[in-house]
Amino acid sequence: MDGRPSCKAIRHLLPIALLLLAGCGGEDGEGGAVRLEAWHHAGREAERRTIREQVARFNAQHEGEIRIELTLIPEGSYNAQVQAAALAGELPDLLELDGPYLYQYVWQGSLRPVGPFLPEDTRADILPSIREQGTFRGRLYSVGAFDSALGLYARRDRLKEIGARIPEGPGEAWSVKEFEQVLGLLAEADPDGAVLDLHLNYEGEWFPYAFAPVLWSAGGGLIARPDHDRARGVLDSPESVAAMERLQGWIEAGYVDPNLDDAAFTEGRVALSWGGHWNYPRYRAAVGEDLVVLPLPDFGRGTRTAQGSWNWGIARACPDPEAAGEFLAFLLEDEEVLAMTRANGAVPGTRPALERSPLYGPDGPLRLLAEQLQGGQAVPRPRTPAYPVISTIFQDAFADIRHGMDVREVLERAAAEIDADLEANEGYRFPEEPRRR
């Protein structure tokens, strides 16, 4: 006996326990219509209202054929709920998911590719950044109606005062040297010398989202690409260490406002704010015409930025993936994409909708963010089932770096921790793949 029976017993008991927690769903069709369960993150009020209206519109269009039943799940515990449902075999047919979690869900065998169930033109219209994030091992597993974007907000008048050059597009990004000169000049004119907001008041996923681009732009990264088989030599490479040392230098020089009240930029305490598309409405209201969006500084290999937001996937167990695909195609129609992005302010996820967007369209104030998503400057977070672990470890490392610990030591330790996790999970090989030992 090698103990296997007891393991089996556990694997039977666990799902039962989780099933009790997750609650059970039933199957009862209504007048012969295909009934599909869909999970969506609860989001803000406007977002909730929009998805409910969209589902109602779709159900009305497909009366008697397809019926989508929507469940809204709180954002904070979304992933935990999905994990519990997956273990219990109770996943919904259609599942919204946060972009970087996709690969873990695919690895766990919860999702099926969506490509075959979407019309050719719909697939062609999707933004390259969303397609890239949704593609894993050569197949498209998820699509999103919108994407997120990251940039550097600035007050134009402050930059003019010090005579700084204002970059017009991603190709004209400040080099990191130029950026530091700008910081220095701005600081001289500032009463407390703190002129930059890095949103250090945010928590969790913000840190890999906002600062992995710094590593990529310097030629480093979180983990080796494309194999995702080690972090050593990448996260602790000289390029990564040098880039994070510069960033730490900004904090130590006093250029960075801790922004505890989340009002550093709106109150005019700082001239520059490292922020996401979601900051725009408040910033615009506070600063008006003077607000300008710039690419992040270039650490040597060209500016890089982040992307990635909520996506839709189809569960492997979904009985009618064609019907599910129809719903996704509906959500990706121009009008629907525009309705959703009007509600949440995100970047429209298809090119035709993007062109018609007042914010991100050709003359829109956030055009630069849209260009970065199409021009290859936006990089998806590592496309590996290990991402949740990488993210947590990087968050801890960043906390140590911002509080002045030795950057090389911190990153070497983080890289070793990630590698230990990769080893413990057999490199996140798929069950059908041979063991690498």
Partner: protein
């Protein structure tokens, strides 16, 4: 019938009923305490990973070897040991000192007792959040400002919770402040149980206050002191809440604990 046999048959008659009555509780105990414990023990010899599609395999002692060679875990053990070694004697001594101070028939003593016991009433999570503000970095931080005033400005402001040298002592101080009231109350109760006759006898024999403390009070408090030290030690090894809220184990593992 001899008495002993009659007693035995009484037990025999009652045994089935006793088992029947205890059964629900015993079943619950088995299902929710014994079984999970045994399963957890068995699982520790496998490579079970939550959410992994890879098959679970027998791993033998590998997990134990891994954790015992993990510098993070060893660090955590050391932090726990240091924490216990400092906090247990210090907190017990402080509690005894407070108890002695408060064991006097003075007017308004109840107010003082309440004040010293107050921190125990608040949940640790609340206390930790308040102390984050106290430990705020820079000259504006309450603790930094207080130390600067006390040292007439010689104190260099410290970022207590993010400096590897200061983070653990900072957490120790908060823990002592929060926990000392509870032990003080226990020792106070024990102090009031020390017979006055012993003190009077010692006084008649010419013993001063110091000798009476060492030879009367302390021996009388032996068992309560052992109890207090034991409970403090257990709590010291269960250290978690304040660390999780204040430092999340950082900086550089300076405050990680086993929990």
């Amino acid at each position: 019938m001899p008495l002993r046999n009659r007693w035995k048959s009484f037990i025999d008659r009652e045994t089935p009923a006793a088992w029947l009555l205890a059964a629900p509780a015993l079943l619950g105990l088995l299902a929710f305490v014994a079984l999970p414990f045994l399963l957890a023990l068995a699982l520790s010899f496998t490579d079970l990973r939550m959410g992994s599609p890879l098959p679970v395999e027998w791993a033998g002692l590998e997990q134990y070897a891994r954790i015992l060679s993990d510098p993070g875990f060893l660090h955590a053990l050391r932090n726990n040991a240091v924490f216990a070694a400092v906090v247990v004697p210090l907190q017990t001594a402080l509690a005894l000192g407070l108890a002695l101070l408060l064991d006097r028939p003075l007017r308004g003593m109840v107010v003082f007792r309440t004040l010293f016991f107050l921190p125990v009433v608040f949940p640790m999570s609340l206390v930790a959040v308040v102390w984050i503000l106290i430990y705020a970095p820079g000259t504006d931080g309450l603790m930094n400002a207080a130390l600067a005033t006390l040292t007439l400005g010689a104190w260099e402001p410290v970022d207590f919770l993010h400096d590897p040298r200061w983070a653990l002592p900072a957490i120790m101080l908060l823990s002592i402040w929060q926990g000392v009231g509870f032990q003080m109350v226990i020792l106070l109760a024990a102090l009031q149980g020390v017979p006055q006759t012993l003190h009077e006898a010692a006084r008649l024999d010419g013993a001063g206050p110091v000798r009476r403390f060492w030879h009367v009070t302390l021996p009388q408090l032996r068992n309560p002191l052992i109890f207090v030290a034991l409970v403090t030690a257990i709590l010291a090894f269960r250290l978690f809440d304040q660390v999780q809220i204040m430092t999340q184990g950082g900086p550089l593992d300076a405050t990680t604990t086993v929990m």
